[in-house]
């Protein structure tokens, strides 16, 4: 499922004093099975971009072609788009509304036209993926759950639609460190199974560890595009987009100041560990 964004622009509140150009002539292409991180300062157009890709904002200029079809075309089958693209919004727990966890997760699959039995099957799989016990939680009201569990239910609701492209807007905001790690591991394994992932995040450390490609937006324009190593190697440009460096990269900078010759390619914890061991000596367990 490749995504092709071609010369897309978007303006909020057109022809009023509050007019804002949220996106300006954005073009890029995302390969099937890629894991793309979208970063940018507040107001850089990230949310607008993912809403356009997922077909929720329609009055844009330019084309978005998913798997060869432009879904903004009136003749296009939008149900198919819903089947292809799953969206997890910021604080997705606010979209829960059903009486029981099972019904809520089954909402999406049923809207896709699946029957009871198929939907139940999907609910089981989705709950298993996010780590909620099916028999224990199926009849519980989602509003009785804790914040973290609610989020799991909401995400399961999207996964149960079995999308081939998963779009996530700040999915880990407000989760505890353990919850973050579990969630990112889940996303990673979904990606390894072939799901295309688009993730908006402010957390550079997570993106460096998990994303294969990073797109940086600045004031509605495509500012940088490349692998995490490429993007974070250009430190001036990253600073210009008002982004932080990942912890590892800024640690390497510190080492360089102290006279160590650290290669630019080191941006992950594992790489840093290997480098320190190879220069200082010793082993992992020390």
């Amino acid at each position: 499922m490749s995504i092709k964004v071609d010369n897309v622009s978007f303006t909020y509140m057109k022809k009023t004093p509050f007019q804002v150009n949220a996106l300006k002539n954005i073009s890029f292409e995302i390969k099937d099975g890629d894991f793309v991180g979208i970063v940018g300062h507040t107001g850089s157009g990230k949310s607008t971009l993912i809403q356009i890709i997922s077909g929720l904002l329609k009055e844009y200029e330019g084309n978005v072609v998913i798997d060869g079809i432009d879904y903004n075309d009136k003749k296009a089958d939008r149900t198919r788009l819903r089947r292809l693209v799953g969206v997890v919004f910021q604080y997705p727990e606010y979209q829960l509304f059903e009486e029981t966890v099972e019904k809520d997760i089954a909402f999406g699959p049923k809207k896709l036209g699946l029957d009871e039995k198929e939907a139940e099957e999907r609910v089981k799989v989705a709950m298993d993926l996010v780590g909620l016990d099916y028999d224990m939680y199926r009849d519980v009201s989602p509003f009785q759950l804790s914040g973290g569990q609610k989020r799991k239910v909401a995400i399961a609701g999207v996964l149960a639609m079995e999308p081939q492209i998963l779009i996530l807007d700040e999915p880990i905001a407000g989760l505890d460190p353990q919850g973050r790690e579990n969630f990112l591991e889940l996303i990673k394994s979904l990606n390894e199974c072939g799901m295309t992932i688009l993730m908006v995040s402010h957390n550079m450390d997570n993106l460096v560890e998990y994303a294969k490609r990073i797109i940086v937006l600045k004031d509605g324009e495509l500012f940088m595009d490349g692998t995490p190593a490429e993007v974070f190697a250009d430190k001036e440009k990253v600073a210009e987009a008002s982004l932080n460096l990942p912890e590892v990269a800024s640690f390497c900078d510190r080492l360089r100041e102290k006279g160590f010759d650290v290669p630019d390619s080191i941006i992950r914890y594992e790489q840093l560990k290997d480098y320190i061991i190879s220069t200082v000596g010793g082993s992992y367990d020390d």
Binding site: V87, Y94, F97, F107, K111, V158
Partner: protein
């Protein structure tokens, strides 16, 4: 999706009308609304329209915005017009076709009613275009102040109003967000019959209510944590004083009222 609302929106600017005391604007609005119903002659309407045109000219609000406020209720105006034109009986028949009869009196009445509605909408939207919600609630609180003696909770009411107004945009944004999230899950809100449409609203309404209650609870807690208690001995951030321009505004309004009463 639903952000393009203009009715009740404040457009900040530096103009004569904007700078008027909110109490002045509220009182004048109230008086004008009453007197619109006392106009029965063409000169009366002309003077009213002239008065409003003057207000718009001195408010730096673009004429397009004023038209937009009328457009949002054109359907009500249209229905009023149609009802009056077809169902009012008079003596002089202007037009007859099968069972449809249009009388001269009906036509005049229909124009009058539609005109009144347009004038009412313009008056009230001029108030909200040029006065922030904060100023309006302050004005209400001060003007209703004497009711405190009758143990009427004026301050609490004004506070409730300002909080309600403050949260309208927030809730609209929230609705927009929830709608998008549910659309992404395959929900649709504008297809099917009435029942399925109402059912289709549930995935929006339930989360919206839950978050509204949560917000209210959070706000109450935050206010209590900062020892908020309103009413007695509470001072105001902005003190209002009548200025010379308020006198001018009142004088013009008085003139308008006299014209209306004479032209009657």
């Amino acid at each position: 999706m639903i952000k393009n609302m203009t009715i009740g929106q404040y457009f900040p600017a530096d103009s004569f009308v904007h700078k008027l005391d909110p109490r002045t604007k509220l009182i004048i609005t109230f008086i004008l609304i009453i007197f619109v119903f006392l106009i029965h002659s063409l000169p009366g309407y002309i003077s009213m329209v002239a008065f409003l045109a003057l207000t718009i000219a001195f408010s730096k609000i673009s004429f397009r915005l004023v038209l937009k406020s009328i457009r949002s209720i054109w359907f009500v105006i249209f229905i009023t017009f149609i009802l009056n034109i077809f169902f009012l009986k008079g003596e002089e028949i202007l037009f007859e076709w099968q069972f449809i009869r249009i009388y001269r009196e009906g036509l005049i009445k229909a124009c009058e009613m539609a005109g009144r509605l347009v004038i009412l909408v313009i008056i009230s939207s001029m108030l909200t275009y040029t006065t922030s919600a904060k100023e309006i609630t302050d004005a209400i609180e001060i003007l209703f102040g004497p009711l405190k003696k009758l143990r009427f909770p004026v301050h609490e009411m004004a506070l409730m109003m300002s909080i309600a107004l403050r949260f309208i945009p927030t809730l609209l944004e929230e609705t927009d967000r929830i709608m998008k999230a549910q659309t992404a899950r395959g929900a649709s809100f504008d297809t099917g019959g009435l029942i399925s449409r109402i059912k289709g609203m549930l995935p929006i309404l339930i989360p919206l209510f839950i978050s509204a209650f949560k917000r209210a609870e959070d706000l109450a807690l935050a206010m209590e944590a900062r020892c908020y208690h309103g009413g007695d001995n509470r001072t105001r951030l902005v003190e209002y004083h009548y200025k010379f321009r308020d006198l001018i505004a009142f004088a013009l309004t008085a003139l308008e009222i006299v014209i209306i009463l004479i032209a009657k």
